[in-house]
Protein backbone atom coordinates (compact mmCIF):
# COMPACT_ATOMS: atom_id res chain seq x y z
CA UNK A 1 0.00 0.00 0.00
CA UNK A 2 1.30 3.38 -0.94
CA UNK A 3 2.32 5.47 2.01
CA UNK A 4 1.80 8.73 0.20
CA UNK A 5 -1.73 9.86 -0.41
CA UNK A 6 -2.62 9.46 -4.02
CA UNK A 7 -4.39 11.43 -6.66
CA UNK A 8 -6.11 9.32 -9.34
CA UNK A 9 -5.93 11.83 -12.12
CA UNK A 10 -7.09 15.20 -10.96
CA UNK A 11 -4.65 17.41 -9.10
CA UNK A 12 -5.74 17.83 -5.52
CA UNK A 13 -4.74 21.44 -5.04
CA UNK A 14 -7.05 23.77 -6.93
CA UNK A 15 -5.41 26.42 -9.10
CA UNK A 16 -3.97 29.09 -6.86
CA UNK A 17 -4.10 26.76 -3.89
CA UNK A 18 -0.44 27.17 -3.22
CA UNK A 19 -0.93 30.87 -2.63
CA UNK A 20 -3.45 30.19 0.03
CA UNK A 21 -1.17 27.62 1.55
CA UNK A 22 1.73 30.06 1.56
CA UNK A 23 -0.42 32.73 3.09
CA UNK A 24 -1.58 30.40 5.81
CA UNK A 25 1.94 29.30 6.52
CA UNK A 26 3.11 32.88 6.96
CA UNK A 27 0.10 33.96 8.93
CA UNK A 28 0.36 31.15 11.35
CA UNK A 29 4.11 31.05 11.70
CA UNK A 30 3.71 33.34 14.71
CA UNK A 31 3.12 30.37 16.96
CA UNK A 32 0.48 28.07 15.61
CA UNK A 33 2.65 26.29 13.08
CA UNK A 34 2.09 22.94 14.75
CA UNK A 35 -1.65 23.34 14.42
CA UNK A 36 -1.33 24.28 10.76
CA UNK A 37 0.71 21.23 9.94
CA UNK A 38 -2.05 19.09 11.36
CA UNK A 39 -5.04 20.73 9.71
CA UNK A 40 -3.80 21.40 6.19
CA UNK A 41 -4.33 18.48 3.83
CA UNK A 42 -1.06 17.04 2.73
CA UNK A 43 -0.58 17.34 -0.99
CA UNK A 44 -1.45 14.13 -2.77
CA UNK A 45 1.45 12.93 -4.82
CA UNK A 46 2.32 9.64 -6.50
CA UNK A 47 -0.44 7.36 -7.70
CA UNK A 48 -0.90 3.64 -7.14
CA UNK A 49 -1.91 3.40 -10.78
CA UNK A 50 -0.10 6.39 -12.27
CA UNK A 51 -1.68 6.38 -15.71
CA UNK A 52 -5.23 5.97 -14.55
CA UNK A 53 -7.42 9.07 -14.82
CA UNK A 54 -10.76 8.41 -13.21
CA UNK A 55 -12.36 11.35 -14.96
CA UNK A 56 -11.88 9.61 -18.30
CA UNK A 57 -13.97 6.55 -17.41
CA UNK A 58 -17.54 5.76 -16.42
CA UNK A 59 -17.98 2.08 -15.77
CA UNK A 60 -21.10 0.15 -16.59
CA UNK A 61 -22.12 -3.49 -16.19
CA UNK A 62 -24.49 -5.60 -18.25
CA UNK A 63 -25.87 -8.97 -17.15
CA UNK A 64 -27.41 -11.37 -19.65
CA UNK A 65 -29.88 -13.60 -17.81
CA UNK A 66 -30.60 -15.52 -21.00
CA UNK A 67 -27.04 -16.82 -21.12
CA UNK A 68 -26.30 -17.52 -17.45
CA UNK A 69 -25.92 -21.24 -16.74
CA UNK A 70 -25.71 -20.86 -12.96
CA UNK A 71 -22.30 -22.53 -12.74
CA UNK A 72 -21.09 -20.19 -9.99
CA UNK A 73 -17.67 -19.54 -11.57
CA UNK A 74 -18.17 -15.83 -10.90
CA UNK A 75 -18.95 -16.43 -7.24
CA UNK A 76 -15.87 -18.59 -6.74
CA UNK A 77 -13.63 -16.20 -8.68
CA UNK A 78 -14.90 -13.21 -6.66
CA UNK A 79 -14.27 -15.08 -3.41
CA UNK A 80 -10.70 -15.82 -4.37
CA UNK A 81 -9.85 -12.48 -5.93
CA UNK A 82 -11.25 -10.43 -3.08
CA UNK A 83 -10.80 -12.84 -0.19
CA UNK A 84 -14.51 -12.61 0.64
CA UNK A 85 -15.35 -14.11 4.07
CA UNK A 86 -17.08 -17.48 4.28
CA UNK A 87 -20.86 -17.42 3.90
CA UNK A 88 -20.70 -13.83 2.60
CA UNK A 89 -21.04 -12.88 -1.05
CA UNK A 90 -20.18 -9.81 -3.08
CA UNK A 91 -21.82 -11.48 -6.07
CA UNK A 92 -24.22 -14.38 -6.12
CA UNK A 93 -26.56 -16.16 -8.52
CA UNK A 94 -30.28 -16.67 -7.90
CA UNK A 95 -32.41 -19.36 -9.49
CA UNK A 96 -36.01 -18.54 -10.36
CA UNK A 97 -38.56 -21.23 -11.11
CA UNK A 98 -41.98 -19.86 -12.04
CA UNK A 99 -44.96 -22.15 -12.21
CA UNK A 100 -47.84 -21.77 -14.62
CA UNK A 101 -50.06 -20.31 -11.90
CA UNK A 102 -47.44 -17.64 -11.21
CA UNK A 103 -46.01 -19.12 -8.01
CA UNK A 104 -42.33 -18.28 -7.95
CA UNK A 105 -39.57 -20.16 -6.16
CA UNK A 106 -36.22 -18.49 -5.66
CA UNK A 107 -33.10 -20.03 -4.22
CA UNK A 108 -29.40 -19.33 -4.10
CA UNK A 109 -27.72 -22.03 -2.01
CA UNK A 110 -24.39 -20.65 -0.77
CA UNK A 111 -24.81 -17.89 -3.31
CA UNK A 112 -24.28 -20.55 -6.03
CA UNK A 113 -20.70 -21.00 -4.81
CA UNK A 114 -21.07 -24.68 -5.64
CA UNK A 115 -23.58 -24.20 -8.43
CA UNK A 116 -27.04 -25.74 -8.01
CA UNK A 117 -28.61 -29.11 -7.38
CA UNK A 118 -31.72 -30.03 -9.38
CA UNK A 119 -34.72 -28.33 -7.81
CA UNK A 120 -37.63 -30.34 -6.51
CA UNK A 121 -39.18 -31.73 -9.68
CA UNK A 122 -42.38 -30.02 -10.56
CA UNK A 123 -44.50 -30.72 -13.58
CA UNK A 124 -45.82 -27.22 -13.74
CA UNK A 125 -42.65 -25.11 -14.04
CA UNK A 126 -43.38 -22.74 -16.88
CA UNK A 127 -40.10 -20.92 -16.94
CA UNK A 128 -36.83 -21.13 -15.09
CA UNK A 129 -33.71 -19.02 -15.26
CA UNK A 130 -30.69 -17.77 -13.35
CA UNK A 131 -30.12 -14.17 -12.32
CA UNK A 132 -26.62 -13.08 -11.30
CA UNK A 133 -26.59 -10.30 -8.73
CA UNK A 134 -23.97 -7.76 -7.77
CA UNK A 135 -23.87 -4.26 -6.38
CA UNK A 136 -25.70 -2.14 -8.93
CA UNK A 137 -23.34 0.80 -8.34
CA UNK A 138 -26.31 3.16 -8.46
CA UNK A 139 -26.04 6.75 -9.56
CA UNK A 140 -28.40 7.71 -6.72
CA UNK A 141 -26.99 5.70 -3.87
CA UNK A 142 -29.17 5.08 -0.82
CA UNK A 143 -26.19 3.40 0.85
CA UNK A 144 -23.64 6.21 0.78
CA UNK A 145 -26.27 8.76 1.72
CA UNK A 146 -26.96 7.15 5.07
CA UNK A 147 -23.32 6.66 6.06
CA UNK A 148 -22.84 8.82 9.16
CA UNK A 149 -19.05 9.05 8.89
CA UNK A 150 -18.38 9.40 5.16
CA UNK A 151 -16.86 5.94 4.88
CA UNK A 152 -18.76 4.98 1.75
CA UNK A 153 -18.60 7.01 -1.39
CA UNK A 154 -18.88 7.10 -5.15
CA UNK A 155 -15.71 7.50 -7.19
CA UNK A 156 -15.55 9.86 -10.16
CA UNK A 157 -15.67 6.84 -12.48
CA UNK A 158 -18.91 5.64 -10.91
CA UNK A 159 -17.90 2.92 -8.46
CA UNK A 160 -19.30 2.70 -4.94
CA UNK A 161 -16.61 1.87 -2.41
CA UNK A 162 -16.28 1.45 1.35
CA UNK A 163 -13.32 2.80 3.29
CA UNK A 164 -12.81 -0.03 5.75
CA UNK A 165 -10.42 2.05 7.86
CA UNK A 166 -13.04 4.70 8.39
CA UNK A 167 -16.21 2.59 8.57
CA UNK A 168 -17.63 2.20 12.08
CA UNK A 169 -19.68 -0.87 11.16
CA UNK A 170 -23.03 0.61 12.12
CA UNK A 171 -24.76 -1.26 9.32
CA UNK A 172 -26.97 1.60 8.15
CA UNK A 173 -25.79 1.12 4.57
CA UNK A 174 -26.47 -2.61 4.74
CA UNK A 175 -30.07 -1.83 5.59
CA UNK A 176 -30.34 1.02 3.11
CA UNK A 177 -29.30 -1.02 0.07
CA UNK A 178 -32.46 -2.30 -1.60
CA UNK A 179 -30.49 -4.97 -3.47
CA UNK A 180 -28.88 -6.68 -0.49
CA UNK A 181 -25.45 -6.02 -1.89
CA UNK A 182 -23.69 -5.16 1.36
CA UNK A 183 -22.81 -7.07 4.49
CA UNK A 184 -20.81 -6.53 7.64
CA UNK A 185 -17.57 -8.46 7.41
CA UNK A 186 -17.20 -10.90 10.30
CA UNK A 187 -13.44 -10.26 10.13
CA UNK A 188 -13.20 -6.49 10.14
CA UNK A 189 -16.69 -5.68 11.45
CA UNK A 190 -16.97 -3.07 8.71
CA UNK A 191 -19.25 -2.88 5.69
CA UNK A 192 -18.06 -4.81 2.65
CA UNK A 193 -19.37 -4.95 -0.90
CA UNK A 194 -18.61 -5.46 -4.57
CA UNK A 195 -16.05 -2.95 -5.87
CA UNK A 196 -16.32 -4.02 -9.52
CA UNK A 197 -12.76 -5.13 -8.70
CA UNK A 198 -11.57 -1.54 -8.53
CA UNK A 199 -7.99 -2.78 -8.14
CA UNK A 200 -8.33 -4.55 -11.51
CA UNK A 201 -10.36 -2.13 -13.62
CA UNK A 202 -7.99 0.71 -12.81
CA UNK A 203 -5.21 -1.43 -14.28
CA UNK A 204 -7.09 -2.21 -17.49
CA UNK A 205 -8.28 -5.64 -16.31
CA UNK A 206 -11.85 -6.90 -16.10
CA UNK A 207 -13.71 -7.52 -12.86
CA UNK A 208 -13.02 -11.13 -11.93
CA UNK A 209 -16.69 -12.17 -12.19
CA UNK A 210 -16.75 -10.93 -15.79
CA UNK A 211 -13.46 -12.56 -16.69
CA UNK A 212 -14.45 -15.89 -15.17
CA UNK A 213 -17.86 -16.21 -16.84
CA UNK A 214 -17.61 -19.01 -19.41
CA UNK A 215 -20.71 -18.00 -21.37
CA UNK A 216 -20.37 -14.21 -21.58
CA UNK A 217 -23.34 -13.52 -19.32
CA UNK A 218 -21.48 -10.67 -17.66
CA UNK A 219 -20.27 -7.71 -19.68
CA UNK A 220 -18.27 -4.79 -18.36
CA UNK A 221 -17.36 -1.60 -20.14
CA UNK A 222 -16.71 2.09 -20.18
CA UNK A 223 -19.43 4.56 -21.15
CA UNK A 224 -16.83 7.23 -21.85
CA UNK A 225 -15.03 5.10 -24.44
CA UNK A 226 -17.06 5.39 -27.68
CA UNK A 227 -15.44 2.24 -29.08
CA UNK A 228 -16.49 0.10 -26.15
CA UNK A 229 -19.14 -2.47 -27.23
CA UNK A 230 -21.24 -1.74 -24.14
CA UNK A 231 -22.27 1.57 -25.65
CA UNK A 232 -23.75 -0.20 -28.64
CA UNK A 233 -25.63 -2.56 -26.33
CA UNK A 234 -26.91 0.28 -24.16
CA UNK A 235 -28.01 2.27 -27.18
CA UNK A 236 -29.71 -0.43 -29.20
CA UNK A 237 -30.93 -3.18 -26.89
CA UNK A 238 -33.92 -3.53 -24.62
CA UNK A 239 -32.47 -3.60 -21.14
CA UNK A 240 -33.90 -3.25 -17.66
CA UNK A 241 -32.67 -2.44 -14.18
CA UNK A 242 -33.68 -3.93 -10.84
CA UNK A 243 -36.40 -2.09 -8.94
CA UNK A 244 -36.51 0.99 -11.17
CA UNK A 245 -39.35 2.38 -9.05
CA UNK A 246 -36.80 3.21 -6.35
CA UNK A 247 -35.11 5.74 -8.67
CA UNK A 248 -31.66 4.57 -7.63
CA UNK A 249 -30.52 4.63 -11.28
CA UNK A 250 -28.48 1.44 -11.25
CA UNK A 251 -25.45 1.15 -13.50
CA UNK A 252 -25.94 -2.60 -13.77
CA UNK A 253 -28.31 -3.42 -16.61
CA UNK A 254 -30.07 -6.69 -17.35
CA UNK A 255 -30.91 -8.43 -20.57
CA UNK A 256 -33.95 -10.66 -20.44
CA UNK A 257 -35.02 -9.56 -16.98
CA UNK A 258 -38.27 -11.18 -15.93
CA UNK A 259 -40.80 -9.30 -13.83
CA UNK A 260 -40.53 -11.81 -10.98
CA UNK A 261 -37.00 -10.65 -10.26
CA UNK A 262 -36.56 -8.11 -7.47
Amino acid sequence: MSKDPVCPGTPLAPTGGSNRRDFLREALSLGSAAVVALILPKELAAAATPNYDWDKHRWVYIIDTTKCIGCGSCVRACKQENDVPDDMYRTWVERYEVEINGDTFVDSPKGALESFEPATPSQSVAKAFFVPKICNHCTNTPCTQVCPVGASYQTNDGVILVDDKHCIGCGYCVQACPYGSRFISPRTHTAEKCTWCYHRITKGLLPMCVQSCPVGARIFGDRKNPDDPVNQILATERLAVLQPELLTKPNAFYRGLSMEVR
Partner: protein, 164 residues
Amino acid sequence: MSDEQHPLKHTKHVFRALLALAAAIVALLLGRSAFVPRSYGAYGSYRGDNVAEQMARPVRHGGDASCGDCHGDELGKHDKGKHAAVRCEVCHAPLASHIKDGDKVGAMKVRKSRELCLYCHLQLEARPKTFPQVQPKPHVEKMGGTWSETACFDCHDPHAPTPK
Protein backbone atom coordinates in the same frame (compact mmCIF):
# COMPACT_ATOMS: atom_id res chain seq x y z
CA MET B 1 -11.99 61.08 37.83
CA SER B 2 -13.56 57.81 39.03
CA ASP B 3 -12.11 54.35 38.25
CA GLU B 4 -15.10 53.48 36.08
CA GLN B 5 -14.26 56.22 33.66
CA HIS B 6 -10.66 55.16 33.03
CA PRO B 7 -10.43 54.31 29.29
CA LEU B 8 -8.10 51.33 29.77
CA LYS B 9 -9.91 49.94 32.80
CA HIS B 10 -11.34 46.84 30.99
CA THR B 11 -8.54 46.16 28.55
CA LYS B 12 -7.16 43.20 30.46
CA HIS B 13 -10.61 41.62 30.60
CA VAL B 14 -10.99 41.89 26.86
CA PHE B 15 -7.48 40.53 26.43
CA ARG B 16 -8.30 37.54 28.66
CA ALA B 17 -11.47 36.87 26.71
CA LEU B 18 -9.60 36.97 23.42
CA LEU B 19 -6.92 34.67 24.82
CA ALA B 20 -9.57 32.20 25.95
CA LEU B 21 -11.18 32.37 22.51
CA ALA B 22 -7.85 31.76 20.78
CA ALA B 23 -7.17 28.82 23.09
CA ALA B 24 -10.59 27.41 22.30
CA ILE B 25 -9.97 27.74 18.56
CA VAL B 26 -6.59 26.04 18.84
CA ALA B 27 -8.14 23.25 20.90
CA LEU B 28 -10.89 22.85 18.31
CA LEU B 29 -8.44 22.67 15.43
CA LEU B 30 -6.21 20.24 17.28
CA GLY B 31 -9.20 18.09 18.18
CA ARG B 32 -10.50 18.18 14.64
CA SER B 33 -7.15 17.26 13.18
CA ALA B 34 -6.96 14.32 15.54
CA PHE B 35 -10.32 12.92 14.42
CA VAL B 36 -10.59 13.90 10.74
CA PRO B 37 -8.29 11.94 8.43
CA ARG B 38 -5.79 14.11 6.63
CA SER B 39 -7.02 13.36 3.12
CA TYR B 40 -10.69 13.68 4.04
CA GLY B 41 -12.45 15.95 1.57
CA ALA B 42 -9.74 15.71 -1.07
CA TYR B 43 -12.27 14.54 -3.68
CA GLY B 44 -15.54 14.51 -1.75
CA SER B 45 -16.93 13.70 1.66
CA TYR B 46 -14.64 10.76 2.21
CA ARG B 47 -11.02 9.92 2.91
CA GLY B 48 -9.27 10.56 -0.40
CA ASP B 49 -6.41 8.20 0.36
CA ASN B 50 -8.83 5.29 0.29
CA VAL B 51 -9.14 5.51 -3.50
CA ALA B 52 -5.46 4.68 -3.86
CA GLU B 53 -5.71 1.99 -1.20
CA GLN B 54 -8.51 0.34 -3.15
CA MET B 55 -6.44 0.49 -6.35
CA ALA B 56 -3.44 -1.00 -4.59
CA ARG B 57 -5.18 -4.19 -3.50
CA PRO B 58 -3.46 -7.25 -4.92
CA VAL B 59 -4.54 -8.73 -8.24
CA ARG B 60 -4.68 -12.48 -7.54
CA HIS B 61 -5.80 -13.83 -10.90
CA GLY B 62 -3.19 -13.49 -13.62
CA GLY B 63 -5.28 -14.48 -16.63
CA ASP B 64 -4.72 -17.20 -19.21
CA ALA B 65 -1.67 -15.50 -20.72
CA SER B 66 0.15 -15.71 -17.40
CA CYS B 67 -0.52 -19.47 -17.33
CA GLY B 68 0.74 -19.77 -20.89
CA ASP B 69 4.11 -18.33 -19.89
CA CYS B 70 5.03 -21.75 -18.50
CA HIS B 71 2.26 -24.03 -19.76
CA GLY B 72 2.07 -22.93 -23.40
CA ASP B 73 1.29 -26.39 -24.74
CA GLU B 74 -1.70 -26.84 -22.48
CA LEU B 75 -2.95 -23.35 -23.20
CA GLY B 76 -2.58 -23.86 -26.93
CA LYS B 77 -4.64 -27.03 -26.77
CA HIS B 78 -7.19 -25.32 -24.52
CA ASP B 79 -7.58 -22.33 -26.84
CA LYS B 80 -8.48 -24.59 -29.77
CA GLY B 81 -10.95 -26.69 -27.80
CA LYS B 82 -14.54 -26.24 -26.78
CA HIS B 83 -13.48 -24.96 -23.39
CA ALA B 84 -11.65 -21.99 -24.88
CA ALA B 85 -14.05 -19.65 -23.10
CA VAL B 86 -13.38 -21.27 -19.73
CA ARG B 87 -10.53 -19.40 -18.07
CA CYS B 88 -7.69 -21.51 -16.63
CA GLU B 89 -8.05 -20.17 -13.12
CA VAL B 90 -11.76 -21.04 -12.98
CA CYS B 91 -11.01 -24.77 -12.74
CA HIS B 92 -7.54 -24.49 -11.25
CA ALA B 93 -6.79 -21.73 -8.74
CA PRO B 94 -5.65 -18.11 -8.81
CA LEU B 95 -2.13 -17.47 -10.02
CA ALA B 96 -1.28 -15.87 -6.67
CA SER B 97 -1.60 -19.24 -4.94
CA HIS B 98 0.92 -20.74 -7.37
CA ILE B 99 3.44 -18.07 -8.36
CA LYS B 100 4.80 -15.09 -6.48
CA ASP B 101 7.40 -12.76 -8.00
CA GLY B 102 8.21 -15.36 -10.64
CA ASP B 103 8.79 -18.17 -8.15
CA LYS B 104 6.58 -21.13 -7.46
CA VAL B 105 5.06 -20.80 -4.01
CA GLY B 106 2.59 -23.65 -4.11
CA ALA B 107 1.22 -26.47 -6.17
CA MET B 108 -1.66 -25.55 -8.45
CA LYS B 109 -4.77 -27.17 -7.11
CA VAL B 110 -6.82 -29.14 -9.59
CA ARG B 111 -10.12 -30.43 -8.38
CA LYS B 112 -10.30 -33.37 -10.69
CA SER B 113 -13.74 -34.63 -9.80
CA ARG B 114 -17.05 -34.94 -11.54
CA GLU B 115 -18.41 -32.15 -9.31
CA LEU B 116 -16.17 -29.70 -11.14
CA CYS B 117 -17.67 -30.69 -14.51
CA LEU B 118 -21.19 -30.69 -13.14
CA TYR B 119 -20.97 -27.09 -11.96
CA CYS B 120 -21.64 -26.27 -15.59
CA HIS B 121 -22.97 -29.45 -17.16
CA LEU B 122 -25.48 -30.88 -14.69
CA GLN B 123 -28.90 -30.84 -16.28
CA LEU B 124 -30.98 -28.12 -14.63
CA GLU B 125 -34.33 -26.70 -15.58
CA ALA B 126 -33.07 -23.14 -15.30
CA ARG B 127 -30.11 -23.74 -17.61
CA PRO B 128 -30.50 -22.49 -21.18
CA LYS B 129 -31.60 -25.49 -23.27
CA THR B 130 -28.89 -24.85 -25.86
CA PHE B 131 -26.13 -25.37 -23.30
CA PRO B 132 -24.72 -28.93 -23.20
CA GLN B 133 -25.88 -30.64 -20.01
CA VAL B 134 -26.35 -34.19 -18.79
CA GLN B 135 -27.88 -36.31 -16.11
CA PRO B 136 -24.48 -37.65 -15.10
CA LYS B 137 -25.09 -41.20 -13.96
CA PRO B 138 -27.45 -42.21 -16.78
CA HIS B 139 -25.06 -40.53 -19.24
CA VAL B 140 -22.03 -42.47 -18.02
CA GLU B 141 -23.96 -45.75 -17.96
CA LYS B 142 -25.40 -45.16 -21.40
CA MET B 143 -21.90 -44.51 -22.79
CA GLY B 144 -20.64 -47.73 -21.21
CA GLY B 145 -18.44 -46.04 -18.62
CA THR B 146 -17.93 -46.72 -14.93
CA TRP B 147 -19.63 -44.43 -12.43
CA SER B 148 -16.85 -43.03 -10.25
CA GLU B 149 -15.52 -39.77 -8.85
CA THR B 150 -13.50 -39.21 -12.02
CA ALA B 151 -15.94 -40.78 -14.46
CA CYS B 152 -16.04 -37.70 -16.71
CA PHE B 153 -12.29 -37.78 -17.29
CA ASP B 154 -12.36 -41.37 -18.53
CA CYS B 155 -13.82 -40.06 -21.79
CA HIS B 156 -13.30 -36.28 -21.77
CA ASP B 157 -10.13 -34.19 -21.67
CA PRO B 158 -11.12 -31.03 -19.81
CA HIS B 159 -8.62 -28.96 -21.78
CA ALA B 160 -10.21 -29.92 -25.09
CA PRO B 161 -13.38 -31.78 -24.23
CA THR B 162 -14.38 -34.01 -27.05
CA PRO B 163 -14.65 -37.76 -26.41
CA LYS B 164 -11.17 -39.30 -26.45
